[in-house]
């Protein structure tokens, strides 16, 4: 029973941490319709920044903000490459992803892994660390990551209701409409990518504080993981109108982590983990297509019938 509970807590912890990233990818992939591959490198970017800043004694929450900011800048670069230099969306993402690999190594001063044990992190210091201090370590982590994830979700929900947020949704839905409003849809794409990559870097920052290590290779497979969370969440809960898409995405992330954990517990070797991640996403995409095809609102251009 204790093992089961431990596993559940573990799944929830990771689900919420990666949930923050999934919310970011929801903005780029679902709202903006932009397949952003730079996520694979902005995730470790957040980790590296956390490691360096926390080692230097910076407040851990401030490090989180810094990670978000740096991720946002990386997102802006992806956006500028696409919007201003007219490089395709996929390629802009790949360029930033590749370039950041070096940036991350430079940040860690050439090391591929940088541990920062026994430093102040958001889990053991500051207001929240103290308030939740009576709980066991695992629960404390869970409470703090869940709180952060939900806070990010609520902030984004509010943002999406502002004028700027509505325009962002319009930019992904119908760029011509944004032009008709006298605004540049490219600017909205850049803003969206900044938010998406900021959230991803924040997730990386929080994960590294939990493990107390930053690893430049920790971003491998993040695009697939985030996309799987987004698609699982939004397609499973499509019918539940009262659940916001951002909530659905967090649930998707937790379910996805649960699938992986179950597979591991059933004795699957760790080496197959990435393979399993790819397989899960494939299955989800196929199912999603099958079900979406039956939907009544599939958008067909009436001039092309």
């Amino acid at each position: 029973m204790d093992i089961l509970l431990g596993l559940l807590v573990n799944v929830l912890q990771e689900g919420f941490i990666y949930g923050i990233m999934a919310i970011g990818v929801y903005i780029t992939y679902k709202v903006l319709d932009f397949p952003d591959l730079s996520v694979d490198s902005t995730f470790p970017l957040g980790s590296c920044i956390a490691a360096v800043l926390i080692t230097a004694g910076v407040d851990p929450w401030l490090s989180c903000l810094a990670a978000f900011g740096c991720g946002a800048i990386a997102g802006c670069v992806t956006g500028l490459l696409h919007v201003k230099l007219k490089i395709t969306d996929l390629l802009s993402g790949i360029l930033v992803m590749t370039g950041l690999l070096s940036v991350n190594l430079v940040i860690l001063d050439g090391k591929a892994v940088m541990p920062f044990y026994n430093k102040d992190t958001i889990f053991n210091s500051g207001f929240f660390g103290t308030v939740a201090g009576n709980l066991s370590a695992d629960f404390r982590v869970l409470v703090i990551v869940a709180g952060t994830c939900i806070l990010v979700k609520l902030l984004l929900d509010v943002y999406l209701k502002t004028k700027s947020g509505l325009l962002l949704r319009a930019a992904g839905d119908n760029a011509q409409y944004v032009i008709s409003l006298g605004k540049n849809p490219g600017t909205m794409k850049i803003i969206g990518l900044a938010i998406g990559n900021g959230c991803t870097a924040l997730a990386g920052c929080i994960l590294s504080q939990q493990t107390e290590t930053a690893n430049v290779a920790s971003g491998k497979g993040m695009v697939v993981m985030a996309l799987a969370s987004v698609i699982i969440g939004t397609s499973l809960l499509r019918k539940a109108k009262f659940i916001k898409a951002t909530t659905a995405v967090i649930i998707g992330s937790i379910l996805y982590k649960a699938c992986l954990t179950i597979a591991m517990q059933l004795g699957m070797p760790t080496n197959y983990l990435n393979f399993l991640m790819a397989v899960i996403l494939t299955v989800v995409l196929v199912f999603n297509k099958v079900f979406a095809g039956r939907g009544k609102n599939s958008n067909v251009n009436p001039t092309q019938i």
């Binding site: 502002t162 700027s164 509505l166 839905d173 011509q176 008709s180 409003l181 006298g182 540049n184």
Partner: protein, 269 residues
């Protein structure tokens, strides 16, 4: 808008002068569409443009909206030179309704969200709440004018509306804030006959109420004759027929078809 009083007497409220435009330059299918093309529209005129395929009527609209750059010449609307502005800046004073009903609205946003966005056109899109509850009665009253029952469906995504409903909404949205020029790009072509009648009626009403200057491209000769104060027929980048006032009233579908046939013979069809 602010400069409107100056232009009340101008006969060249919308002016395209000495426009040159060549497509696919220096290739086998080079098309020299416009060579010193001129078009002037006085304030408040409703102009219908017809013409064969490739006659340049859609290009006129695209040039006015800034989605196609010109090689040389000048384009001005209400005294402003606009030919060098990026496309989205044209939209600040030009409204456009497209042939494709899905282009004029955001399908995944609700009717209310679409209208709130349009209502804020010309302002900064900052971090204020997008939907102003106090404006909802105004949106409802505007939707009631469409007589489509949309005022009770404010929270429905636009994707669930029919093409005709969407086009009516697009028309309403593009004229919600003051504009200098309304461009109708075959906006009834993708609709069934009944919806297109409705949308044309609605167009007539909105244009009349708001006293808009309109440039409408259409394939429908009947509409071109029935609506508008001036009719222009285009062929190969030139104007072959330009009738306004009495002359336009006297025009019949038969006259236009004859003219069309003449043109087609020239083309060897």
């Amino acid at each position: 808008m602010s400069t409107q009083h100056k232009s009340d007497t101008m006969a060249d409220y919308v002016a395209m002068r000495r426009i040159c435009k060549t497509f696919n330059r220096d290739s086998l299918n080079e098309i020299r569409l416009f060579q010193n093309f001129n078009l002037e529209i006085p304030k408040g005129q409703f102009v219908a443009v017809i013409g064969s395929n490739g006659s340049g009527k859609t290009t006129i609209l695209n040039i006015l909206c800034g989605s196609v750059p010109i090689d040389s010449g000048s384009v001005s609307v209400n005294g402003k030179e606009i030919s060098r502005l990026p496309e989205h800046q044209h939209s600040e004073f030009i409204g456009r309704v497209f042939q494709d009903p899905s282009k004029g609205t955001c399908p995944q946003l609700t009717i209310l969200e679409n209208m709130a966005l349009a209502d804020n056109k010309g302002t900064r899109f900052g971090l204020h709440f997008g939907i102003n509850r106090k404006r909802i009665p105004y949106y409802r009253s505007q939707l009631e004018l469409l007589k489509l029952g949309l005022e009770d469906k404010l929270n429905l995504p636009v994707s669930s509306l029919s093409g005709g409903q969407r086009q009516a909404l697009a028309l309403l949205i593009s004229t919600m804030t003051p504009i200098d020029l309304l461009i109708l790009d075959e906006h009834t072509a993708a609709l069934d006959p009944r919806s297109s009648e409705n949308v044309m009626e609605l167009t007539q009403r909105i244009v009349g109420e708001k006293k808009l200057t309109v440039l409408m491209v259409t394939h429908n000769l009947k509409y071109a004759i029935r609506y508008g104060d001036r009719l222009i027929m285009m062929h190969r980048g030139g104007i072959v027929l330009d009738a306004a006032g009495e002359e336009k009233v006297a025009l019949q579908t038969k006259d236009l078809t004859e003219k069309f046939n003449e043109i087609s013979l020239e083309d060897g069809n």
